[in-house]
């Protein structure tokens, strides 16, 4: 902040003071916390309120909370009743996905110093707390040392290996991505995208299996998926499946162009049925060259965007087995179908936004070059529209990830459902705070991670339309 002092009337220029550039802690405090009396009062109030809330939370979390509810049920929270002897398949999928995420980060993102410090700090906590607990092992119960060794150490040592594995894979992938980027940036990016498209079905097959009990990958029925695993599988399947459907719907809604005929209403036209027909005909002609397809898409999109997701889940849960005449369809599959159909409507609107944001010259140029409508869509408009739509698409994927929690209402045991099941057991009654805080942290880490990645992608310019020059 520079303070320029205006020269007094008639004062010689030499008496004008140099603007003072304020630096240092005190200047920062004055600028950011005590700029005006009102600011100062606000700061004092916020320190008091925020400080007491934070103090209460810290006191609860490191001195009162009983974290055994998580250490005891950790496996069921993470993977439900997935057979323990098949756990390595999940580990393999996680490693694959995390490596890929790291590689993408290396190619498109940047490792900021603050992020690196956060990673190192996070990992250190998970390593240090169990170590510290060993030295405090003989502290009596009721003291802080006793709480650390009795409550926190088991939790942290349980989480240590997964966290180390995830962070390790992410960093190794980051290194690989940076390396590949230096060799050939364009090809590295393309292969990573292809790898994403291949790896998600691979993970699905890995988790589900395809052979009978004695084969290499015995089938684990979807009814045994649970916890975070089910949350992720629901989100993954819905994201992968709703994307093409959403694009088709968007293209359908944009198809055939639009006309802008206006209905010039004569006075009191609503009394004349002939005028109704005229209005109807103008509305129909304004729908463009494919009015039936466009109307079908509009009805689908607007209907699903107008009803809550729970009602869709609830209906699908009861109707899908009836509609397909097959009672053996699993509740998880029903939920996947419902989530896919529902989210496709939202994806369609986002893709449509991208298509509408394109300058019309793009399509005209493609036509002028002799591309067929299909070619023009596939090679010219759609890729650019998707690129524009990346930020809202990621936002929708985050919403989808959070929306999977609603299947708890129809009785599935994804992360939230399984924690309710755990809380229903008599030994864990009253431990809801600990469990829900843990679940919230899990959701937060993944949602925030996704939005952070999206912001980096946006900043790197990958989401923008390429400009001339």
């Amino acid at each position: 902040m520079t303070t320029a002092i205006a020269p007094a009337e008639g004062a010689p220029a030499s008496q004008v003071k140099r603007p003072v550039i304020e630096r240092g802690v005190l200047a920062w405090l004055r600028r950011n916390l005590f700029r005006t009396p009102f600011d100062a009062a606000l700061t004092v109030i916020l320190v008091a309120v925020g400080g007491s809330l934070l103090a209460q939370f810290l006191e609860w979390s490191i001195a009162q909370a009983d974290w055994t509810v998580i250490t005891t049920n950790f496996r069921i929270l993470m993977q439900g009743t997935y057979p323990a002897e098949q756990g390595h398949r999940l580990g393999l999928s996680v490693v694959l996905i995390t490596l890929l995420a790291g590689v993408s980060w290396g190619i498109w993102g940047k490792l900021f110093r603050a992020t690196a410090f956060a990673f190192v700090g996070g990992v250190l906590i998970f390593v240090l707390v169990p170590l510290a607990a060993e030295s405090l092992a003989d502290s009596p119960r009721g003291t802080f040392g006793g709480y650390v060794s009795g409550q926190l150490a088991p939790l942290f040592s349980l989480l240590r290996d997964p966290v180390l594995l995830l962070v390790g894979c992410l960093l190794i992938g980051y290194g690989l991505g940076r390396f590949a980027k230096q060799i050939d940036r364009k090809r590295a990016g393309r292969y990573t995208l292809i790898a994403w498209f291949i790896s998600i079905p691979i993970c699905f097959v890995l988790v589900r299996g395809f052979s009978d009990a004695d084969g290499i990958l015995p089938v684990v029925p979807t009814s045994r998926w649970g916890g975070l695993l089910l949350t992720f599988m629901l989100a993954f399947v819905a994201i992968v499946a709703c994307f093409p459907l959403g694009i088709l719907l968007a293209l359908g809604r944009m198809s055939g162009g639009t006309r802008k005929l206006t209905f010039k209403a004569p006075p009191r036209w609503w009394l004349n049925p002939l005028q109704w027909l005229r209005a109807l005909s103008i509305w129909w002609r304004n729908l463009g060259n494919y009015p039936i397809i466009k109307l079908l898409c509009i009805i689908y999109i607007e209907f699903l965007r107008g009803v809550p997701l729970v009602t869709v889940f609830f209906t699908a849960n009861l109707i899908v087995p009836l509609a397909l005449g097959d009672n053996s369809i699993d509740a998880v599959v029903r939920a996947m179908v419902a989530l896919t159909l529902f989210e496709a409507a939202y994806i369609a609107e986002i893709v449509r936004g991208g298509l509408q944001a394109l300058p019309p010259g793009q399509l005209e140029a493609a036509k002028a070059l002799g591309l067929s409508p299909v070619q023009a869509t596939l090679f010219i408009t759609l890729p650019q529209a998707l690129r524009i739509a990346i930020p809202p698409l990621v936002g929708q994927f985050i919403t989808m990830f959070k929306d999977t929690s609603l299947v708890a209402i129809i009785g599935l045991t994804e992360l939230l459902g399984v924690s309710r099941a755990v809380l229903a057991q008599s030994e864990f009654i009253g431990r809801h705070r600990e469990l829900y805080v843990f679940v919230a942290i899990v959701y937060f880490v993944f949602s925030y991670g996704m939005s952070y990645a999206a912001r980096q992608l946006e900043r790197s310019g990958s989401g923008a339309i390429r400009k001339i020059g």
Partner: protein, 396 residues
């Protein structure tokens, strides 16, 4: 002309090469596929329902429901002997109540936090950021469960409630606040206040026109505002149109018919919806304010406007153009998210429908429920579209 037609004969080509035919054919095929699929699915559902002997008509609506709803505007709004249709009506009123209250509160809180997010005070903007990130990145259902188990279930019994200023009481039987009871003069008061506001607005406009035309100082806002509110306040003092009814504590908790009592479940769903939605509204407000060019701030500051005046008179009106479309989406989300009230035991449309589905066929119930939510969404977006049209830049 005939000569011309002979020299350039119209080339005839097969009708299936005509683009109009192709468009029509493609659409008819798609329509046939969709209709065929729909018929097949509906047929399957009907057969399945017939096999399970579940009726699919709406005749159940007139029958007694057999369950009771305690949540509502009046005491015991739905008794066991009342019809299913009545249950739907009661549930719809509850949904509307929760949505309207949350909508207003979430907008105010979101506006407040969105402005705090851009504050020059480091602490205010950091806390606002933390609030937004925490509530945006965790599922609403989780927040509702947390509110339900960690706040609602730990509230004291009604005999020893938490006393809030007012006095209002908060306990596991709900929130009891003072209520206004109309007397015989309240009709007159409403009439007088309405007249006062009308006259005030008319005066304000007239005086403003005079000022704009002649350049005289006419104190348009001051006179207009004082007439608008002065008449109402004076009439209040003279007529005493309402008596205040304070909530009372009896031996078994709140005394019925004293004060306004809302259930704890209502408090929980409103709290959840407000906290969650306000985080999203705050982000919308922030991006709206940031979309106003910085030159607008600087120009206003150069003309001596205070911070509050700049925000109120210069920035927010321009930001509203950017804010309203995404805000509409958030309002729609809020209305749809109210269907999670079932998670905190609040008797709204979806929750009541779930109870009904245990005794009657699910198909007609879900048709009604989805119809209600569709209508809610359509009304909300219609209202917001009108608002949006009013705030957009008028171009000539």
């Amino acid at each position: 002309m005939a000569d011309l037609a002979k020299r350039f004969p119209v080339r005839r080509f097969a009708f299936w090469r005509d683009v109009r035919f192709l468009r029509g054919a493609v659409q008819l095929i798609v329509l046939a596929i969709v209709i065929g699929l729909a018929i097949w699915l509906i047929n399957n559902v009907n057969q399945g329902l017939a096999r399970a002997r579940i009726p699919t008509d709406f005749s159940f609506l007139a029958q007694p429901s057999g369950f009771q709803i305690d949540e509502g505007l009046v005491d015991q709004p739905h008794k066991r002997t009342d019809s299913y249709a009545n249950a739907f009506a009661v549930a719809l009123v509850n949904t509307l109540r929760a949505v309207l209250v949350s909508l207003v509160l979430a907008t105010l809180l979101g506006l407040f936090i969105g402005i705090a997010r851009l504050s020059t005070n480091f602490l205010a903007r950091t806390l606002a950021l933390a609030y937004i990130e925490i509530f945006q990145n965790t599922p609403l259902l989780l927040q509702l469960f947390f509110i339900f188990t960690s706040i609602l279930l730990t509230l004291p019994r009604a005999t020893e409630p938490i006393v809030l200023p007012g006095p209002s009481y908060l306990s596991s039987s709900g929130l009891a606040t003072p209520n206004l009871i109309p007397t015989e003069t309240s009709g007159w008061w409403v009439l007088l206040t309405a007249i006062g506001i009308g006259v005030g607005v008319a005066l304000w406009r007239r005086l403003r026109t005079i000022r704009l035309e002649t350049g005289r100082t006419t104190y348009a806002a001051e006179i207009g505002l004082s007439v608008m509110f002065g008449v109402g306040i004076l009439a209040w003092l003279i007529l005493q149109p309402f008596t205040v009814d304070f909530p009372a504590l009896g031996r078994f908790g709140y005394v019925r018919d004293r004060g306004a009592i809302v259930s704890a479940n209502f408090v929980a769903i409103v709290l959840g919806l407000v906290l969650y939605t306000s985080a999203f509204i705050a982000e919308i407000v922030r991006s709206g304010i940031q979309s106003v060019p910085i030159g607008q701030w600087e120009a206003a500051r150069a003309q001596g406007f205070t911070y509050g005046q700049i925000l109120r008179l210069i920035v927010l009106p321009q930001a509203l153009r950017v804010i309203i479309p995404p805000l509409t989406n958030q309002y729609l989300n809020l209305a749809k998210n109210s269907s999670l009230g079932a998670a905190v035991g609040f008797a709204e449309v979806f929750g009541v429908a779930r109870t009904m589905a245990q005794s009657v066929s699910v198909v007609p119930i879900m048709v009604i429920v989805m119809g209600i939510y569709l209508a809610l969404s359509l009304i909300t977006s219609a209202v917001m579209n009108v608002l949006n049209a009013r705030f957009q830049i008028k171009t000539r």
